[in-house]
């Protein structure tokens, strides 16, 4: 099993480590980190930075009786740990938690199924896509930012191959099409903060029909 080579951008990893990334970007980061030891090692360093910055903060004064109040809470019953969600392990746990036990995929185009998650990136729902082997996502650009994390199979984008754990990043400066590898179904987690902007006739028709 190879490990991912297309890692999430450092800026995003920093905001995840600092805890300032929104929930959608945090989900993307958590799923990628599940699959990338290299990014996890980098996260460990960024969290160590957080730890040392915390240690350098001047302490705030505690309220009178703070310690006593604290000690009185030590015997509170601990909440039950969150169970690890069941489901297909190709989906990292934080994703399975959102998908629920019976995900309902929608067929939006021949060879394309989507599952909207109960989470938004900008105004758009975060979604999973299942793409049939060998199909092409027609040429398009973006109104904003796009992240595409591969969970199964793979695709080619601008001369590079993206496989499980890899993240493809694109924005309004990028015009591209994706070739889904023909060795199996490709499943990706997609964050797209505005609809795609088609750049081909086929894409325009698909966009018009699917609304994606």
């Amino acid at each position: 099993m190879t490990t991912p080579t297309h890692l999430i951008p450092e800026e995003l990893l920093l905001s995840y480590a600092a805890g300032t990334a929104g929930e959608a970007l945090s989900l993307l980061a958590a799923c990628h980190l599940t699959l990338s030891p290299e990014s996890r090692a980098h996260l460990d360093t960024l969290e160590a930075v957080g730890g040392e910055l915390l240690a350098e903060l001047p302490g705030a004064e505690l309220a009178p009786g703070s310690l006593e109040a604290m000690l009185a809470r030590l015997d509170e019953p601990a909440p039950a740990p969150r169970p690890v969600p069941t489901g297909d392990p190709i989906f990292p746990a934080p994703l399975r938690r959102l998908m629920g036990p019976q995900p309902r995929w929608r067929k939006v185009w021949p060879g394309v199924q989507v599952l909207d998650l109960p989470l938004h990136y900008g105004p758009q729902p975060v979604r999973l896509t299942r793409l049939a082997p060998g199909i092409e996502i027609p040429r398009h650009t973006h109104g904003g930012q796009e992240y595409n994390l591969v969970l199964q199979g793979g695709f080619s984008d601008r001369g590079a191959d993206y496989l499980r754990g890899d993240v493809a990043v694109a924005d309004d400066t990028v015009e591209h099409h994706l070739d889904i590898h023909d060795d199996g179904e490709c499943i990706t987690l997609v964050l797209l903060d505005s609809p795609l902007v088609p750049r081909s006739l086929k894409g325009t028709i698909a966009h018009w029909i699917t609304g994606i």
Binding site: A30, A48, A63, L71
Partner: protein, 188 residues
Amino acid sequence: MSGTSPVGPKAWIARIAQDGDREAFAALYAHYAPQVKRYLMRSGADPVTAEEVAQDVLLTVWRRAPTYDPSRANPNTWIFTIARNRRIDRLRKENRPEPEATEIIETMQPTQATDAQVAQARRAAAVRQALATLPQEQAEVLQSSYFEGRSMRELADATGVPLGTIKSRSRLAMIRLRQVLEDQQSSP
């Protein structure tokens, strides 16, 4: 930091883990609660809420002490991650998605990895040293990212410094940190 002497955060956490030692916990509380409270106030909590959440954080430390693994993270880092996650859960009312494999950094399995412990202590020292040598403007971007809960875009909007400049300061800070860490890893 205490090194091998039996006081200091690591020893206190070990005593909490082994014996549920309340005296050790009181020492740990006195050491960390004021900093955690300040951290929460910097991210926008009022003092009363900040103290309440700081207590939640230290309560989590008390409960999870038996699973603390000093080879994965030093106490500063471990407590930072717990405080950060509580901040998100409580102040932003969001659930932080955690990676499947590192759902553990908070609830780690103990190991007997002394080499890893040494490496980890050296990393913390290198991070401290790197932070101390960062130019002021780069350190400010980092502190603001970590403490004020602001994205780089929000920071740019709030300070009037162009987003590109903020991003490049942050990038330079990261390059500097990585350099120091790599030097430290390659030294014998």
